[in-house]
């Protein structure tokens, strides 16, 4: 890991942005892993980096996040996890050995050290101690095949210069000292398969823990042990999930968080995301940090409904899906696309053959193939709808009508 020590200035600046009355909202592994879900979004990076309570901010902006957890799911998750740890973790070690094809000697014992302490820092210290004790056992020639399972240990990972405390479900330490991250999830492994989106999420989260474990020294296994209910029962079963790609991705995103200083520097002095401020002022403050909204954000970011609203009112085509921009080239807005499609944009006349070709105003420019393709698309679509007896699509301007407003100033960039 290669974190620059941040200037105290950045920390102060982030505190200003958050509002000095609010303690920073602690980042957790889920939030860190989610950074990789939309790494191009500077708004998210800054708000998370500053420890702003995004859920509160979204409420203050009048676009609360719809996230919530059913207490049924919560209760079931807890009951299942308790069951996994119930027998002193011997079964857990068995699952780990089976899932990874461990051919080492039969375990002669499983240590489950007590990690309780006051506060996250105290628990992190207990965890470090427990890991060191496990390493000592591994170093002893007569140590036997003793495993150590840390249940809910506390790991520290420096993120943008500040330590973040992270709590994996468990960490198993093999007799040779190798650490394996264990995640207990309540979605099932059914006939050997599990929901790939959920497994992917668990892997990204576990990758954060693996990085934190690396920080604390000692060998870290390439794979996560994912423990889930088997089929329709609540018996635990497990699978090893290769984390190498996720670790590389998360490592990269964490390293990029050091770019926070640049993002923060671009925010005008005096701007604050203090959730006590009025909604209009907050909206203006949020608008000062560029976002990279995509519909995928709706599932992962508390601010997504607000960002979607702004993107919609700006007519950005990404509200229709990340994929749509692939064929649109430089056209970024709904108005620009329609202007191109209906022949009111530069370059539209480059495509020959259309009887309703209104001609290009700036002949001689290199024709934009996106505009030409949209022109053909609009013509074919109108033709087909007419053939089937449908009226032409609503937004087609009548011949001679003035082009939509934004078309004249180019719309996109």
């Amino acid at each position: 890991m290669n974190h620059r020590t941040p200037a105290a200035g950045l920390r102060r600046r982030l505190a200003e942005l958050r509002g000095p009355a609010h303690p920073p909202r602690p980042l957790d592994a889920r939030a860190l892993a989610a950074l990789a879900a939309n790494p191009g979004c500077r708004r998210r990076a800054l708000l998370d980096g500053a420890g702003v309570d995004k859920a509160a901010l979204a409420r203050a902006l009048g676009a609360p996040a719809p996230f919530g957890q059913s207490q049924f799911a919560f209760a079931r998750g807890h009951a299942f996890e308790a069951r996994v740890h119930a027998d002193g973790c011997a079964a857990l070690v068995g699952l780990l050995r089976a899932a990874t094809g461990d051919t080492g000697p039969e375990p002669t014992g499983v240590e489950v050290p007590d990690l309780t302490a006051d506060g996250p820092a105290g628990r992190a210290a207990r965890t470090r101690l427990a890991l060191a004790e496990a390493d000592d056992r591994a170093a002893r020639p007569d140590g036997g095949a003793v495993w150590t399972v840390l249940v809910h240990p506390m790991l520290a990972l420096p993120v943008a210069g500040s330590p973040v405390h992270l709590e994996p479900d468990a960490v198993a330490v093999a007799p040779d000292g190798t650490r394996t991250v264990v995640e207990v999830k309540s979605f099932p492994i059914l006939d050997g398969t599990a929901d790939p989106a959920k497994v992917g999420g668990a892997a990204r989260q576990a990758a954060v823990y693996a990085l934190a474990l690396e920080e604390s020294g000692g060998p870290v296994a390439d794979a996560l042990l994912l423990v889930c209910p088997k089929d329709f029962s609540n018996l635990p079963t497990a699978a090893a999930v290769d984390l190498r790609r996720q670790r590389a991705a998360v490592r990269r995103q964490l390293a990029r968080l050091t770019g926070l200083a640049d993002i923060a520097a671009a925010v005008p002095e005096g701007v604050t995301f203090d959730v006590e401020r009025p909604g209009a002022e907050l909206a203006a403050a949020v608008a000062d940090v560029p976002a990279a909204y995509a519909p995928e954000c709706l599932a992962t970011c508390e601010l997504a409904f607000h960002c979607r609203e702004r993107a919609r009112s700006g007519g950005e085509v990404t509200v229709l899906g990340r994929a749509v921009r692939g064929e649109l080239g430089a056209l970024r807005t709904v108005d620009a696309v329609l202007a191109a499609a209906h022949g009111t944009a530069p370059g539209a006349g480059a495509e020959g053959g259309g009887p309703e070709d209104t001609g290009a105003e700036d002949a001689g420019a290199v024709p934009d193939p996106a505009v030409a393709a949209l022109r053909r698309a609009a013509r074919l679509r109108a033709e087909a709808l007419a053939q089937a007896g449908h009226a032409a699509p609503a937004p087609t301007p009548a011949p001679g009508a003035p082009p939509p407003r934004a078309a004249r100033d180019g719309g996109g960039r």
């Binding site: 609360p64 719809p66 919530g68 957890q69 059913s70 207490q71 049924f72 209760a75 079931r76 309540s186 099932p188 059914l190 006939d191 209910p229 089929d231 329709f232 029962s233 609540n234 018996l235 519909p295 995928e296 709706l298 409904f305 609203e309 919609r312 009112s313 007519g315 085509v317 509200v319 229709l320 899906g321 994929a323 749509v324 709904v334 108005d335 696309v337 329609l338 499609a341 053959g353 259309g354 393709a373 949209l374 053909r376 698309a377 074919l380 679509r381 033709e383 087909a384 709808l385 053939q387 089937a388 449908h390 699509p393 609503a394 937004p395 301007p397 009508a401 939509p404 407003r405 934004a406």
Partner: protein, 524 residues
């Protein structure tokens, strides 16, 4: 997303109303489909919470589980579900017709097949999950020693639902449909495909499409091409947002999710306390839970029927009935397997079965793409835009003959087109013959100039020395050629499963699969 579909979405976003993606209906709709709206318990795999089910939009059957963790109550639910669903699923087994097969012998085929409709993709997945959870169960009759025997017809329902769930993976199939899939196939909204998975939001865009009548959507008429800031252009987006987020005074969503997952706020504020009362034996708690679940289910039930009505209003595509024949074959084959006493479908496919299914689905996908384009000028427009078809006017026809002992007519037809097909000399092309609808084959013989294509006709002209009447276009005719086949066949000749070769692990282990192990606190 194709550029044509993107354009439709952009137009929908600008106008605030859904835009057509099809001019005909591309899926078979039964006259009386069975609609099934399930809810599941959060955090539990395949633990149903309730369902509305039935064939009459005005009279659904409500099934509920007052305590989802209670195995007996879940079995009661599944038995009730079997009572409603099985008569429907079995209703078409006995009306059959006899059709000749290619092999020469005659085969029996059911003249119709029952249709099942769920709200969304999650509903389809839940049908599969229910099927999986039930089909390996054993009844007391089958296994008197089973510790928790399933009600009599539950394993059978599991096999039917498994079959329907698996069939739903076949492109163009219609035994099991979802309302969101039906709607998104035929209309584009001004939001993303992800958001289209929300049935309420999706319908909001469609209702906005009819909101020309002032007052229907808050009375905001349109104000020309100007877009999204307060004008009519925002109608769909605003209506969709309401469907997604609007909550009542208690914080419950006014448009509950279309399932199978419930709104966590509903679980925590309403359902959990009611379940606690039920557990405590409070009188009336079960009735309360039924009422609560009905409030969550009924809006979705109505939405599914509304979706069906909207899609039904479109005229069916010409080749839809032929595709439904495939579904009828599938239904008949499942009926035959049940009658032959075969064991339930295995948990995972063996190598040969998987390869067969993949080959069939690839063929069906190619057929579906071709048939939809031939049935619908709007779909064809997309293929033309992609360079996979071209339309135009015949400018010249030249007589020509094949060389060989018996020269056959091979006329050269030159077409002027504004399309930009991805053609090279030798590329095969196809068109539907006017009149009888058969396919005529040809090949690109030359590209004589910009916008000109010369096609050599190679078939569809009969066996004579002169082409059959009407089989060769004349100058001035409008013709449309596709670069894709109209009735693609194919797929490899695969061995039988018992002949699986060594490369794929040899023949699979025989015998029916074991039921899931039952433990004291199993969930299903």
């Amino acid at each position: 997303m194709t550029l044509l579909a993107t354009l439709a979405r952009v137009e929908a976003a600008a106008s605030g109303r859904a835009q057509p993606l099809a001019t005909v209906r591309h899926r078979h709709l039964a006259e009386h489909p069975m609609v099934f709206v399930p809810l599941t318990t959060a955090g539990e795999a395949g633990a149903p919470l309730g369902a509305l089910v039935g064939t009459d939009p005005a009279a659904p059957t409500l099934l509920t589980v007052p305590q989802p963790r209670d195995r007996d109550l879940r079995f009661r639910f599944l038995a009730e579900l079997a009572d409603v669903l099985l008569p429907h699923l079995e209703s078409a087994q006995d009306a059959v017709e006899t059709v000749p097969r290619r092999s020469g012998e005659a085969a029996e085929r059911c003249v119709d097949a029952p249709q099942l409709v769920v709200p969304n993709a999650g509903g389809v997945a839940f049908v599969r999950l229910l099927g999986r959870s039930m089909r390996f169960r054993r009844t007391a009759e089958e296994d008197p020693d089973a510790p928790h025997p399933a009600p009599a017809r539950v394993p059978l329902l599991g096999r039917w639902l498994t079959h329907y769930g698996e069939r739903a993976r076949v492109p163009g199939s219609a035994l099991l449909l979802s309302a969101t899939e039906l709607l998104t196939r035929h209309w584009a909204t001004g939001q993303s495909p992800l958001e289209d998975q929300h049935l309420g939001a999706l319908l909001a865009w469609l209702r906005a499409a009819e909101a020309d009548v002032p007052g229907r959507d808050g009375g905001d008429g349109r104000d020309g091409g100007d877009g999204r800031d307060g004008g009519g252009g925002a109608a769909g987006a605003r209506a969709a947002l309401r469907a997604e987020t609007e909550r009542d005074a208690e914080g419950l969503l006014r448009t509950p999710p279309a399932g199978p997952a419930t709104d966590p706020a509903f679980d925590n504020q309403r359902l959990a306390p009611a379940v606690a009362r039920y557990d405590a034996g409070v009188f009336g708690a079960e009735a309360e839970i039924r009422t609560l679940l009905a409030t969550q289910l009924r809006p979705t039930w109505d939405a599914v029927w509304e979706a069906l009505e909207r899609v039904r209003a479109l005229p069916p595509g010409e080749r839809v009935a032929a595709r439904w024949e495939g579904d009828r074959w599938s239904y008949t084959a499942h009926r035959d397997r049940l009658r032959a006493g075969e064991p339930p479908q295995p948990r995972r496919d063996d190598a040969v079965t998987a390869a067969r299914k993949l080959a069939a689905r690839e063929r069906d996908q190619a057929r579906l793409s071709a048939q939809e384009a031939l049935d619908d000028p709007l779909v064809l427009a997309g293929r033309r835009l992609a360079g996979e078809a071209f339309a135009g006017e015949v400018t010249a026809v030249e007589e020509a003959y094949s060389t060989g002992r018996r020269p056959m007519p091979r006329p050269l037809v030159t077409v002027r087109t504004g399309d930009e097909p991805q053609l090279a000399v030798g590329t095969k092309v196809y068109r539907v013959l006017p009149g009888d609808g058969r396919t005529q084959g040809g090949e690109c013989a030359a590209l004589p100039g910009p916008g000109l294509v010369t096609v050599r006709l190679t078939g569809g002209m009969g066996r004579g020395a002169q082409p059959a009447a009407g089989s060769v276009p004349v100058a001035g005719d409008t013709v449309c050629w596709t670069l894709f086949e109209h009735q693609p066949r194919g797929g490899p000749d695969l061995p039988d499963p018992e002949d699986t070769p060594w490369t794929h692990g040899g023949p699979p282990a025989g015998g029916p699969e074991e039921p899931d192990r039952a433990t004291g606190e199993d969930l299903l």
